[in-house]
Symmetry: C2
Subunit: 315 residues, 2 copies
């Protein structure tokens, strides 16, 4: 399985349009040694011909432009894409807005839980831009806490075996339901935020967990059996964003276990000895973006890596 990281920042990207924190100002001026990052986007392929997107970042148009593998193929007519499917693991803006970039009458399988599909297709009709023609978007069930076949291509044999893990976490604030609407529904909280474990044909596993509000002990053996972990690296501290904005929610309240601290992910994942551990979905405020920071050294010392846009590896 080929894995391409097309974006590694959290929502807003790095730098963020309206942010003048040390990192954002520094990356604009060159005063901080750090690489700009697009919003988190991963693409996977089992055969190099067909690709599956993990979520749909608001930066997806430029991420596709930057990736020749994702361009229309020769000899396939005037409209074509090697992007066969998209898996939506939650309804946050930075996980779904990119679907609007994919609106040009192109066949596409979109996997989402029933609740997330309802938020997008029933409660936010702007996503009907994906359903202007027959054979455009085909919505597929993304089951919670189950194995399923993730199709990716023009044949039933094209695809991945995949497991989904339901993660503690809420539906986004915007999806509170429309007052007076008959389509607002009781939501199944198991369907709000999912993690994925993808299997290669040779049995290697990739865990994709960019939004982890709470890391369950019961997952650790599952994660230790993986070859590569793409894990929530949003915040270093629980109160990081409150310090920068002067108000707001803690990392955990926003659905992200911080990296540091006795209950942080760096300590909790330290015992995993098998997988390559990569932090992804890094917020613009996170000191690990600064290549000269002590926080970055602590991550490296713990044997973990920090994703960069453009990373490309085989599973």
């Amino acid at each position: 399985v080929r894995v391409k990281i097309l974006g590694s920042a959290a929502g807003g990207g790095f730098p963020q349009w309206n942010c003048a924190c040390r990192n954002c100002s520094g990356v604009r001026s060159g005063g901080v040694r750090a690489n700009p990052r697009l919003q988190t986007q991963v693409a996977i392929s089992h055969n190099g011909k067909w690709w599956c997107l993990l979520n749909a970042s608001p930066d997806l148009r430029s991420q596709i432009l930057n990736s020749p593998e994702l361009h229309p193929r020769e000899g396939q007519g005037t409209r074509d894409s090697p992007i066969a499917s998209v898996v939506i693991t939650g309804a946050d803006v930075d996980q779904v807005a990119g679907l609007l970039h994919l609106r040009e009458f192109q066949p596409l399988q979109i996997y989402a839980t029933e609740s997330v599909r309802g938020i997008l297709t029933e409660e936010n009709p702007i996503f009907r831009a994906l359903q202007q023609a027959p054979n455009q978007a085909t919505w597929r069930e993304l089951p919670a806490n189950q194995e399923f076949q993730l199709d990716c291509g023009d044949q039933p044999s094209n695809g991945f075996k995949c497991e989904s893990i339901s993660i503690a976490g809420d539906f986004p604030a915007y999806a509170g339901g429309i007052t007076g609407s008959t389509v607002a529904r009781a939501r199944n909280s198991n369907q709000a935020v999912l993690g994925l474990i993808l299997h290669s044909a040779s049995g290697k596993k990739l865990a994709y967990l960019p939004n982890v509000a709470k890391l369950e002990d019961s997952w650790l053996p599952l994660l230790d059996a993986c070859h590569t972990l793409l894990f929530d690296g949003t915040f270093w501290d629980d109160d990081e964003l409150i310090r920068i904005r002067g108000e707001g929610k803690s990392a955990r309240e926003m659905g992200h276990i911080p990296i540091s601290g006795p209950e942080g992910s760096l300590k909790r994942l330290a015992g995993l000895t098998h997988p390559r551990k990569i932090y992804i979905h890094v917020n613009n405020t996170n000191p690990i973006l600064d290549e000269d920071s002590s926080e970055r050294q602590q991550v490296a010392a713990a044997g973990s890596e920090i994703a960069e846009d453009g990373w490309d590896f085989e599973l």
Copy 2:
């Protein structure tokens, strides 16, 4: 008034992610001499300190990154933006999706007609991401066929005198209303698509008309009194997209008068002698994007220009 063109392509941009037409293939391979273009986005400023965005393109995040004028200013704290307001002239995806890039708790005045505001704030709750905090988005009435004051900055004196013109055209297909929802409303078709005429303090006028389904004779004197015209250059031919896709709608059915033909905009605007005439919102399929095309020569011979990303001029 300073005018910056941050994007000049129609929806999908150039090249478009899934398009292998002559233009898109050629700009990717270098076989056609043409410049890539982001989706149409214009920013205007009366004083160089505060900016107003005309619509909100899906490429807005990278368009802001590319424009130092739109970055946070020094000494304004950790969160800041010189973008004071946005005018939304219609509810097409390529006019509104960029609002989701502006979701980070930043004060913003958003002008839209009552109908368009209803589509966004009531019928598509994803846009509530702009209303997570008090003093974030303030929605302002964009009246149809009226003069109004377009605020842009922290003082009532900051802004523009502006006229709106109601243009024949429909609300986008996705905005058909939610079946069973009490918020679906009778829409006022006058509020579907607006054009703008902005006045500088010295009395010069800029017409912004990227979506023109039908060019009324009565507008011609109004347009001839302008200094600069940014006009709908989406399609060369009425059946251009049908030829490429093999099916679909004509240019006029999609709300765009074509450039060519006896009733096309090139002939209809030929009699205007005062304004600088610039085509914008150019679709990836339009032959005028090819710098070696005869169609481009015809545009030049008629005294019109074709917008490029990055153009920057004073009114």
